[in-house]
Symmetry: C2
Subunit: 200 residues, 2 copies
């Protein structure tokens, strides 16, 4: 019997996935969590074999939970199930030592199958994504990422400067760097590109 905790913020999807997994005779859904913090608490209380979690959740993200599990050396496997086919996410997930990484647009049967594989100690990584992941590295450094994120929210160079205690000019330099590295024409395009790759 594989004992599972399910974390996913959209209630309807959570309920549906739970129903789906409960149809399997060798899988038992111990509980579900609507956000990252609840998931973390339930994880410690229920001690499941496997945590199945989304990435984007209020509070803790799925990636952050995976990092904590690894840091505390808990005997719990983590499977990420997410909408986003972003190589950067997969990469960070692998760095956090997750057992599986599936996309929500993979067939539903894959989930139970992946659960069994991971429970046996194997890995279940979405195949197309696995290829892309190591092909293209994130060219941005921390500052560039940070500045690009704020610029993408509509803030001007001046706004960002005050917010980060840097000078107006420096911000523009970083932004220019980022735009160049990404081969974009302006901050908006750069933001979109970076976001799409999961480099945020």
């Amino acid at each position: 019997m594989i004992r599972v905790l399910l974390a996913e913020d959209q209630a309807m999807v959570r309920g549906a996935l739970s129903a789906l997994l409960n149809l399997e005779s060798d899988i038992e859904v111990l509980g579900t969590a609507a956000d990252g913090e609840i998931a973390w608490r339930e994880l410690q209380r229920l001690k499941p074999d496997v945590l199945v979690t989304d990435i984007e959740m209020p509070g803790l993200t799925g990636l952050e939970i995976a990092q904590r599990v690894r840091r505390q050396e808990l005997p719990i496997k983590v499977i990420i199930v997410t909408t986003f086919a972003r190589p950067g996410f997969l990469r960070r997930a692998l760095d956090a030592g997750v057992g599986g990484y599936l996309l929500k647009d993979a067939p539903a049967e894959n989930l139970a199958e992946a659960l069994r594989t991971v429970h046996r100690g194997g890995r279940a990584i979405d195949p197309q994504l696995a290829l892309e992941a190591w092909s293209e590295a994130d060219p941005l450094n921390d500052r560039e990422r940070q500045v690009l994120r704020l610029a993408g929210e509509g803030q001007s160079a001046n706004d960002i400067a005050t917010q980060l205690n840097l000078s107006h000019g420096t911000i523009r330099n970083y932004l220019s760097e980022a735009i160049g590295k990404l081969g974009a024409a302006n901050r908006i395009e750069a933001y979109r590109l970076a976001r799409q790759k999961g480099w945020l």
Copy 2:
């Protein structure tokens, strides 16, 4: 027996929702569709009582399907199930005569309940959203919407001008109008605001 067709582009969610609905004794899932065009074909072939559909799908969106159903006066109810709590979407859905509009972060049991209500001829609209929907009207006109959408993709005023066969200056005027109406500081913020409200 309520005969249902389910349209949703994410395979895993599709499978899970299908499993969920099949647990109900009075509901039968006739089939599922992975995008809007398939959904439209299956709709005509299977003649279900109710179509449960996502909004954002490749090909036809759920809203467009609802509009077609109404235009052709098919005896099929439509229930929209979506992630997006955007008042503008609900409004367009109501204009298209849908029977129900639920959010994916409503509890899973609501879906079956809504199906029954709509099948009986009632309406199932997410309550909080219903309030907001009529409170704030979309202030943008067609040109502004169009221009703002392109600007949000990172295109410059010049790019947009050539694309729409308008002058450089006119584009900037429209953009300025849109920014003003939305109370934004620049195109990026304006784009984000409009998008968030579902005015796109």
